[in-house]
Symmetry: C2
Subunit: 361 residues, 2 copies
Amino acid sequence: MTYADSAGAARKPTLAVVGATGAVGTVMLGILSERKDVWGEIRLIASPRSAGKKLTVRGEQVEVVALSEEAFEGVDVAMFDVPDEVSAQWAPVAAAKGAVAVDNSGAFRMDPEVPLVVPEVNAHAARVRPRGIISNPNCTTLSMIVAMGALHAEFGLSELIVSSYQAVSGSGKEGVDTLREQIAAVAGTELGTHPGDVRRAVGGGLGPYPAPIAYNVVPFAGSLKDDGWTSEELKVRNESRKILGLPGLRVTATCVRVPVITTHSLTVHARFENEVTVAKAHEILSTAPGVVLCDNPAEGEFPTPADVVGTDPTWVGRVRRSMDDPNALELFVCGDNLRKGAALNTAQIAEVVAAELTGVS
Amino acid sequence: MTYADSAGAARKPTLAVVGATGAVGTVMLGILSERKDVWGEIRLIASPRSAGKKLTVRGEQVEVVALSEEAFEGVDVAMFDVPDEVSAQWAPVAAAKGAVAVDNSGAFRMDPEVPLVVPEVNAHAARVRPRGIISNPNCTTLSMIVAMGALHAEFGLSELIVSSYQAVSGSGKEGVDTLREQIAAVAGTELGTHPGDVRRAVGGGLGPYPAPIAYNVVPFAGSLKDDGWTSEELKVRNESRKILGLPGLRVTATCVRVPVITTHSLTVHARFENEVTVAKAHEILSTAPGVVLCDNPAEGEFPTPADVVGTDPTWVGRVRRSMDDPNALELFVCGDNLRKGAALNTAQIAEVVAAELTGVS
């Protein structure tokens, strides 16, 4: 199907950005301004209290309109970067108005009638969307899944054991503000060598965290679920399985927050059905779309959050073959949790839909 | 054998602390002042340039003497907290003078004629010391091995997959100073959201690290060895096997430095020969000597470095059974890398030897 108006001339689809004023929304407007422009109108939608604000996208000022059924009139693709409950209510409204909703909340990710898409891994899944909704994975899964998808295609993935080093911007502005305030409180002190002195220094200002995050790491992210697992750890398990189309994949995650502003890192123990070599893994990772191999530790080359932040790809380093298992690789992976981990992947999904609608591939 | 002078009266053994003026040595003098006093004379030994300094131990000023063969005259137990090459030269000298050398360097750890001892796990090994030398494990292994030893005794350990969150004091004073200086440089800024801005802010002052450590994590600790592994990762493997007496134990570690002053943390995926339950693991960990179970995430209770620093035990939380493997546990473990990870374990080994020498158990 080509996408043409009544006179037969190709037209560019209309995009709505719902949650345009939020943290991810702000990154989104920057990304939309940088990427190949496949969109006709870009409509900015937010809560009624933000209506009337003007934001810059593609170098132009655009006025924000209030979220309503009418706001989706004529929209082809609607991206949602809003809390779960807002998505749960409004993504179906957008779909009912004929838009394809691309949702970055957790509301629909495990719905069997909603595909969970990472374009480098399973772009094909975006075409089958019985509810008119496509979900974007959570940022921790997204920080490693492109690299895992590339290795899976070659070696056949059977198990992931993952530990995260998650940045505070994954908790939104409150997380970033909390770390910055705590860093200011501890800077210039001799704190950090006696029990509880960091906790005393930061006072009650723990923000969204159950313990201090400056000069500390916190082994808890998300909310508590059954058997001691956190919501974040279960997301890594369930979403990895769904994206890779491997419902029986063994996945274990332990999620830990670290005092980094932006960019999630993960250590990954990945076991495969077939024997692996570092040389072959290097070859795959150095050519896979969306992945940068950065693995020359003799020259101090490996990814770190401070070097990766603000970039689009998944960075992979410290690639080793397990000494006990010729089928297992160890890796260290970094990805910007606000870009590929949220806004960028949502934009990429929307572009996949745009290409389908316009018949351009 | 009882330990008696020529008149048959029991006497307390003489202890030498070699490297008394260093970072671990300083913690050691504090620990010796706090613990049950099993020692007669405590002699402080350091490099000639520190000779004549006075340091406080057990509430008394003691003058430091220069390292020499004569300095070991009459010494029963000599603890070494000095660089590898100094231990390699001088621990055999102390042993030749009749002292039992307890060495905290890497010089002798993998020597088959030198036991590697963690008293809660393998105190018995301290008795067989053909070279008169006993080694103390590295701090990363020590941060988790007491808990693993207790679980192994019940379930039979078969595999460890470990990721570390290592504190900068593991790199000595230079590591601590570097983190404090970098924290001062980034505090009060908006840094941390653009590629390389932390690297620019800290300038050339990376200290002992190959990348910034403030607002960052660095997936490299120690030196580069074969096949992309670091010395630190190989130590965790080789020392865990030796301490537990399991030469075939599967061990994989990825070691990552984090912006924490003191206390190493680790995520551990531990697989056992027998089926595990969280209830039984809790029972073991809550009664094992040297271990504190801190595992009630519903109440925000899990160990973090900021709360554990300055304490002696290994703290364990976030205990979960793998959803894919009834024989595997996931844990988060914290231990003060300067206390149990270095000075405390050395002091405990020395006390085991003192008990043997004096016939007190």
